[in-house]
Amino acid sequence: MSTPPPSLLVEDLAFAYPDGHQALYGVDLRLEPGERVAMLGPNGAGKTTLVLHLNGILRAGRGRVEVAGLPVAGRDLREVRRRVGIVFQDPDDQLFMPTVGEDVAFGPRNLGLPEPEVGRRVADALAAVDMADAADRPPHHLSFGQRRRVAVATVLSMQPEVLVLDEPSSNLDPAGRRELAEVLQSLSVTLLMVTHDLPYALQLCPRSVVLDGGVVVADGPTRELLADQALLAAHRLELPFGFDPRAVR
């Protein structure tokens, strides 16, 4: 018995907000180590709600979530939050410390790592997102694309098992978009990318799942899903004008 547990396992996850609004109705999702998966779905499909379950910010009403075999529950929450790195949509929400370096060090220091190790992690994480020389700069002096990449570094420094990105391509200009894609492609972690940027999903993730109405309605190779006109239309997903997923190599 040598197969490692899945990086991420979500089983029959249901959740209702305190005001009674039911956001998830029984989600199943399994990510093997090293897999890159895009989670597609229209606004209000429950994507963000699902993401907040992955590190225990929200607690499941029913069902369970496991990260590399560890259940997301009270006692192990600290370790779960190390294993699941969430990059939120607005980098200004993610980067709250006075300098980039201190922000990237925030997670490792919370883990109680010794200072030399923290320094190493910060340097490695910033190098991984091609921002090695930005450590002493305040976040508001960076461009939006740079801030997004630094936001990725802030969770990379915790050496997560799964990297979760919420709308990573939103508000980026084409160059920033390409630079981020190059960074993400160079990482070897398991990746879950929440987006409605379908070409980006195709570029980065061989597999996609479609979430709508609080359930997973499709799960398969990204290229096949995007070629399924009826599926896309039924879930308010649209390819950009003139984009043909079959024509992309």
């Binding site: 709250f96 410390m97 201190e102 925030f106 200072e115 976040p139 002096h141």
Partner: protein
Amino acid sequence: MGAGHDSGGLAARYVPGTGPVHRLEPHLKLVAVLGFALVVVATPVHAGWAPAAYLGFLVLLLVVARIAGVGPGRLGRGLTVEIPFVLFAVLLVFVSRGPRTEVLGLSVSQSGLAVGGGLLAKATLSVLAATLLAATTEPRALLRGLERLRLPQVLVQILMFMIRYADVVGGELRRMRVARESRGFRARHLGALRVLGPAAGSLFIRSYERGERVHLAMLSRGYTGRLPTGPVAPVGARSWTTALSLPLAAGAVLLTGSLVG
């Protein structure tokens, strides 16, 4: 988004430099400024030698400013925060009771003149010292200084978020104003409050929601109520001596005044 361009905001008060005042550890500078302000405030207003002491304090500050390379223009601009005090001090001169005297043909209160003048002098000196501190210390260094002086974590964190998000919220405010004015709005009379009120409200809601999102992001990276900071270097006796020379010199001025005067 308002990225890239240099912010106005809080960092604008900082004058980059590498002089001895800049290099001094921030918490020492804080202690020095606080000590100086205490000495200034302790100077008795009604004493005859008080004006001379104020002059002495001013000379001390100008010497420090000279060493730090902070120009008189920068110091002068720092004084704008003092304007409300000036108005109050001027008011005192007219409304205080007691024996009155003539200045430029106006009847003013003698004690009001002393108290108002003293208030003005003390406020000006303290503000100048604070301006020097802000001009020679980066905001985040000040925060670390406050932290080393054992200011409660919650206060340090609130200040840190204020510094970090002043530009973000300022940017939102600016975009909202541009959007208003692009549709022909001008704040000409009191009726404009009907528009500005809700705008302030929505800015508050936006900031509140941002606060919630930031908190989520912090929790996701293992926040437990403490902001972890890096290692701090120990401070030598030399640095203490340098820092304390300002309040000690001010104390000497005060002592001389009370002995001689």
